[in-house]
Amino acid sequence: MSGAGPDRPLAHWQHRLAERGVDRQLWLLVPALVFVIALFLYPFFYGLTLSFQPTKGGPLSDYARFFSDSYERGTIWITLRLALPAALLNVLAAVPIAYRMRGRFRGKRLVTTLLVVPITLGTVLTAQGLLNFLGPTGWFNRILLATSLVDEPVRLTHNYWGVFFSLVITGFPFAFLLVLSYLSGIDPTLERAAATLGADWRRRFTRITLPLLMPGLATTFCLTFVLAFSVFPSAVLVGNPAGETRVISLAAYQAAYEQYDYPYASAIAMIMGFVELVIIAVVLAARSRLYTGSTGGKG
């Protein structure tokens, strides 16, 4: 211990660490870290090593195989084309609706519950529902035909749109729930202060609420994006899995479970994780430059 010498005692070593942010509160990380290290890191590195041990060729040949084959490589773009717009839409649509849901009004709880309930649908029911409802003989097309809006059923399933809708149905409530909760943590007094400074609702929103909500939105986007990026069953069920919705997880799935080529599947999955990581790193880097402190609501 640095103790009290004859001169000015130095700060205790605990304080010096604390100044750098290291103190006993970091113990809180330990259970989660131990857990992840014990149950995830080993299996993950196993998978990672596996991806460098292809059934034939050098360590990187499975990666090379993926990138040299346009049918495989194309899955990255196909997946991004689905996941990015869907995640963006989910987050962006959640914001105004959640914004409307602040304050109190009659029926608020009902509307909230209704908006959250689709979260329970699950991919299978959503897929079946989309096929039934939007299919060529489904109610949607029947209504369009009956009202003569179209003279031939509209193709909304077994293509890009089917998967997109399913990503929206399963992803939106998810985004909404998070955004709504993040929003409830922002002190409404701040908006009122902005109002007295002459900000109309629009600018109150863009200048005050939105910036304070941004960190939460970034996280929400990341999570929705990850979910959308790993879209699998719906890409098969309501999409066109050999063609325009052959997403990257399908490629990995086929490698693993149809061709039983686990090293290749691991390589594809690693590529998949890496692409996600790049997008998320961009978003989180942007997030770390935002204000992320107290937003008053709870203090």
Binding site: A195, A199, G293
Partner: protein, 370 residues
Amino acid sequence: MSAFSQLRLDGVSRRFGGQAALTELDLTIEAGEFIALLGPSGCGKSTALNCLAGLLPLTAGSIWQDERRIDTLPPERRGFGMVFQSYALFPHLTVRANIAFGLRMRRLPKEETRRRTEEAVRLVRLEDHVDKLPGQLSGGQQQRVAIARAVVFEPSLVLMDEPLSNLDAKLRLEMRTEIRRLHQSLGLTTVYVTHDQEEALSLADRLVVLREGRVQQIGSPRELHTRPANWHVADFMGYRNLWRGRVAQSDGARATVESSGHRLLGEVVGGLHAGADAVVAVRPEDIRVDGPGETRNAMSATVEVVEYQGRELAAEARTDTGLLLHLRTEQRIAPGDQVKLAVDPQRLLVYPADASAETDRLPHASGATR
């Protein structure tokens, strides 16, 4: 935004659930006036201000700006500036950006925004802190940001909710002067909530005293100071010595009040006839400590507590009849001293006793002061 010549509150009321926080406030504010809302904690001052700002919908009544009804307008269309009791600074914006916010909303030219923001920063002495976030400021610094933010766009009406409560005496005095100066030089109209009577007295043209959501008195500082409308206002305005008695004689303007042995002459406020129950109110600083010879309007007492307060002493003395009196004096007295305490009849106010529970709690001459 729009200047006006008169702002009229007409029966403005606000309830929270079952509880009335503000009841039928009628008040006309002339352009350029400086109004202070004064009253004990929880009396409805902030509520009144919030109603005026448009942040709380009224539960009854209306607000008129000249001939235009404005209580239906949202806050941003009223164009008033406001300093919040809790500051309500934007936590993600720097001091500079917080202050510039109102100007930005008005889309002033960049250069002007910059200039006026700098000016306001100087006004509140925060030159060294412009780039900090609110979370990095001390309490008083935050309060100063809130003030600068509210006045920088020169609103037609400025609402201030205890804007100086977290500042030290010196700075408070300086800011007080600045606020008064701003008010005059920019031709603002100001409604100012404070719990500090001295602040209210020195700043405002007119004071509104609230109690339990109801207006007790509206008047000039001098009126409030010398002639509180009832004993509650007197109590609030610093008449710390209050006791009950019975009117022995009254000519309408002056009355002699008797309470267990003492007979004191004072000014009547409100109607009082002989035999009525009365409440007597005297400020500590209006009690003179005289030599033992003095007898006019005087009581003999024993000094109990003496507190050093700079040049003056604050003391408590108990009269022979058991009444505890607060006084302030420059004389060097000490606990145990026998003194005569005298009050000028103009400084001793006599009120009718109302039938409130609070009245019952006041001491009769023989009882402990609250």
